[in-house]
């Protein structure tokens, strides 16, 4: 596997300009002769499909839901970063770049991250022009807030629904192109395979969720914008349909999978309340701007929070990290919450929760001001938990939220299968080992609106592509493989459910294995144990899963089974990746790699690289490749938020 990142030459701040100039173009009249498939309609996918269509390419866009407006970007609450420096508080492109690369614990590529910071300002202009109703100051200018881990106010927001508003902006742009005929929209389609012809990605195989039809779609390039794989844990903040299938099938066709063990555990989620739980709900971490995190000083203190006097409360983040306090990065906040609960100081029924308290902010700014900022989040919390955060502290606990790992891509966001691109959360490129708050929306839109079109033009301008059709052998084979696999999934079901397991039962088992052994804190022993236990779960799935219904109809159990089958395969490289990375870095603590005061210890000497996994076959161990990281513009420092 060749891992050439193709980072352009020249000084950091000139790389993107140089690259755009040296890249080949496709002239406007010729673009209509080329076609692109975009899978996924979240921020990255919708913005890419709209932009490519505006430029004249023929686009086919696919989504798994009933409408492109439903992709999970819609659930992002807090905001989007941009280096506008509107607040005149010392922000700049370089500072956003630096914060992002430092926040990622120096495990991302300098050039990609710098470009992200550069185009961040254009994103805001684009979204404003679309009519995204960002929060405004009374004078009419755009409002900003500071967001987890940042010391400047660079986050733009639309109440607690920033993701929704940005996605509806991109959905609007996409809808306009559908109306104009530049985009053909396919809803309720699940991508089942990438079709590679003569070494190049030339199409996809999909399953029509409504009819069960297995379909082929042909194009000159394929762009995956299929999000992250957090649902490998069963419980996460991801939407129910979020899955790894598209990325995993691309991986099995030869695309490298980078840093699969880099998973972000978000500190402010509503705690788990029962084994029937289907997903976890995130509370935006903007809440930490005004909320104070605490636990009782005494272990097992069952008093109501209001009955615990001030001097018997441990505001552990403020005490431990005086300069950042409640605004420490996500991993630090998550790990400390787990640590407090492990010490027996957790609160609530399950004792797997800590308080997030707004009492002081309400005293300081008044009820109205706090409600204006967080009202919709408080209401959401109250609906779920039946408790009002204006009256009593919230309870929060960490949950799986975002996956920094993803398909390996070069500077052009192309995987190592020529013609196959990956954008948004689906790729690994910008967040290193940890993503800063309000940076996912930024990356999704940067990739879709401002980066991918340049890459596509260059690829098409430098490669001569033969015409292909869905009647060719590679497409026929792909359809057959997909159909065989569905038949295999259904093979146990003829005899009825007796003695069998449902998809969710097995998924919960996988989730528990991953959360217990490949979660926030990891060690060699547990990871090796997990690697040993995984094949039995996989076997159980293939031998005993019961799926009611047929393939040629709406069959939601079959959909979930297909996704779980891929999660079960994918989990192996996740565990292996965690095992081979013997350092603590970014989001995860490797227990063998700690400082004297139990903080994460990164090991630049041995692990300053991207780990890229190559699929070697069903019975073979996956191969590990390494893309070394070099830092010419920043000096990797050991993070300290004390």
């Amino acid at each position: 596997m060749e891992l050439n990142a193709r980072v352009p030459a020249g000084p950091l701040e000139k790389k993107w300009d140089n690259h755009r100039f040296s890249n080949k173009l496709v002239n406007p009249a010729n673009r209509r002769k080329y076609s692109a498939i975009v899978v996924g309609t979240g921020l990255a996918g919708a913005s890419a499909a709209a932009t490519l269509s505006e430029q004249g390419y023929q686009v086919k866009s696919f989504c798994i839901q009933d409408s492109p407006r439903r992709a999970h970007s819609i659930a992002a609450q807090g905001g989007i970063n941009a280096a506008k420096n509107y607040q005149n508080d010392g922000d700049s492109v370089f500072r956003l770049f630096y914060d992002t690369i430092k926040g990622g614990d120096f495990r991302s590529r300098e050039a990609n991250v710098y470009r992200l910071a550069q185009v961040s300002t254009e994103i805001i202009d684009q979204c404003v022009a679309q009519g995204v109703p960002f929060a405004r100051e009374y004078g009419g200018t755009l409002a900003n807030r500071s967001f987890g881990g940042a010391q400047v106010s660079r986050t733009f927001y639309a109440r607690g629904q920033t993701g929704q508003q940005l996605l509806l902006g991109a959905y609007g742009a996409l809808s306009r192109q559908i109306h104009a005929g530049g985009v053909e929209m396919f809803t309720r389609r699940e991508m089942m395979d990438v079709v590679v012809v003569d070494g190049r990605a030339r199409g996809i195989t999909t399953r029509n969720i409504m009819t069960g039809e297995i379909e082929s779609h042909v194009a000159d390039v394929v762009i995956l914008a299929t999000g992250g794989y957090g649902n490998v844990y069963f419980l996460s903040t991801n939407a129910m349909a979020s899955n790894v299938t598209a990325a995993w099938r691309a991986h099995k066709k030869g695309a490298g999978f980078a840093n699969p063990s880099f998973v972000q555990i978000h500190p402010t989620c509503i705690p788990v309340h029962g084994d029937y739980q289907s997903k976890l709900t995130l509370m935006s971490e903007s809440l930490r701007n005004d909320g104070r995190v605490w636990v009782p000083k005494k272990q097992g203190d069952k008093r109501l929070p209001a009955d615990i006097p001030e001097d018997e409360r441990d505001y552990y983040l403020e005490n431990k990290y005086p300069s950042f306090g409640n605004l420490v990065p996500r991993d630090v906040a998550s790990r400390n919450a787990k640590e407090q609960c492990d010490l027996g100081k957790g609160v609530g029924n399950t004792q797997l929760a800590v308080y997030l308290d707004f009492a002081e902010a309400i005293n300081r700014d008044g009820e109205a001001a706090i409600f204006k900022k967080y009202g919709n989040l408080f209401q959401m919390y109250e609906k779920i938990t039946d408790s009002n955060p204006m009256k009593e502290p919230m309870m929060i606990y960490p949950a799986v939220h975002y996956t920094m790992g993803g398909l390996w891509v070069d500077y052009d966001l192309m995987t190592n299968i020529p013609g196959l691109f990956a954008i948004g959360e689906c790729n690994f490129s910008d967040h290193g080992a940890n993503r800063l708050g309000a940076s996912a929306l930024m990356q999704g839109l940067a990739d879709g609106y401002f980066v991918i079109a340049t890459s596509i033009a260059h690829y098409l301008g430098t490669n001569k592509l033969e015409k292909v059709s869905e009647h060719e052998q590679d497409f026929i084979d792909s359809r057959r493989v997909v159909e065989d696999r569905i038949a295999k999934l259904l093979k146990n079901s003829a005899g009825g459910p007796a003695g069998k397991f449902t998809v969710d039962e097995i998924h919960k088992e996988l989730g528990k294995l991953m959360w217990d052994n490949c979660g926030m804190a990891r060690n060699k022993e547990d990871l090796e144990k997990a690697l040993k236990e995984l094949p039995a779960i996989k076997q159980k799935f293939w031998d005993y899963v019961y799926i009611p219904g047929d393939t040629k109809e709406i069959n939601q159990s079959l959909e979930r089974a297909g996704r779980l089958a891929d999660f079960l395969e994918f989990a192996e490289i996740m565990i292996r990746d965690a095992l081979t990375r013997g350092e603590s870095c970014g989001c995860h603590l490797r227990e063998e790699s700690q400082t004297e005061d139990n903080e994460a210890k990164r090991d630049d000497e041995n692990y300053s690289h991207v780990s890229v996994w190559e699929y070697a076959g069903q019975q073979e161990e996956p191969k590990l490749h390494i893309e070394p990281l070099s830092f010419e513009n920043v000096t990797p420092s050991q993070r300290s938020y004390k």
Binding site: R69, G172, I384
Partner: protein
């Protein structure tokens, strides 16, 4: 935490062409902290284990924002709680021994595809007809060069909060999509960015709405009562004004 026993009457329909009917199921020991969809998950696990077909229903984010879920619960879209989607409705709002009737959103423009799962693509086509500002990517002016009074932006945001679940249509005696359409028309009519296409947008979106077979508004206000995002029917008044003005001056 307490638990309740329930009787469910659920609409079962194999596909668009089949006849449907209500089937009765009983569920015991439902935790009141469960969400409504988690209760349906529990039912589906039970049905699966008994060798019966689970109930098909749409859902995705389960945080009340994607707009994919929804059903008529005892005659009310998204159920008895104000301003929640079905996924955010919790079982603590039901009592032990309750019988709950669960039906799909119904409207002429929403064919039932299976059980509670419907086709709402007509709503997408309304947006496609003009629910956007026609700007291409790139070459836009600096965000702060379009100052917008905070109050105005907040009003636009009130309308923009629509999640496109379509409960408004399912609750309207006329099957009108006026609340949905007016939310987008209002958002963009309230903002300076939306002015250039203001008239054309109102005309095109109303035309598409009619073409899809949605009815007209007669101020029954059922839509506002069930809207999980509290979208106000003032937006419908605004749409009427926008449409009338556009029709008088352009039409």
């Amino acid at each position: 935490m307490s638990s309740i026993n329930l009787t469910l009457k659920i609409w079962r329909q194999q596909n668009s062409d089949a006849l449907g009917q209500l089937e009765t199921y009983t569920l015991d020991a439902i935790h009141t902290d469960m969400s409504f969809l988690e209760m349906l998950d529990v039912l589906n696990e039970k049905l699966t284990k008994e060798g019966q077909d689970p109930v098909a229903f749409d859902h995705d984010c389960r945080e009340g924002i994607c707009g994919m879920c929804g059903a008529i619960i005892d005659g009310v879209a998204h159920g008895p709680e104000k301003e929640v989607t079905l996924c955010q409705l919790h079982m603590r709002h039901f009592k032990d021994g309750d019988t709950i009737v669960i039906e799909p959103f119904r409207s002429r423009a929403y064919p039932v595809k299976r059980d509670l799962l419907i086709d709402r693509s007509a709503l997408d086509r309304i947006i496609q007809s003009g629910g956007y500002v026609s700007v291409n990517t790139g070459g836009t002016v600096d965000g702060n060069s379009i100052p917008i009074p905070s109050q105005q932006s907040e009003l636009a945001m009130d309308a923009a909060a629509c999640i496109g679940c379509g409960a408004c249509v399912a609750s309207c005696p006329n099957g009108a999509a006026m609340l949905f359409t007016s939310a987008k028309v209002s958002q963009l009519a309230l903002l300076p960015q939306g002015q250039v296409e203001r008239k054309q947008r109102a005309l095109a979106m109303v035309e598409q709405m009619d073409k899809e077979g949605f009815g007209n508004c007669t101020n029954a206000k059922e839509c506002e009562a069930v809207c999980p995002k509290g979208i106000s029917i003032r937006n419908i008044a605004r749409l009427n004004k926008e449409y009338l003005f556009a029709a008088m001056t352009e039409g």
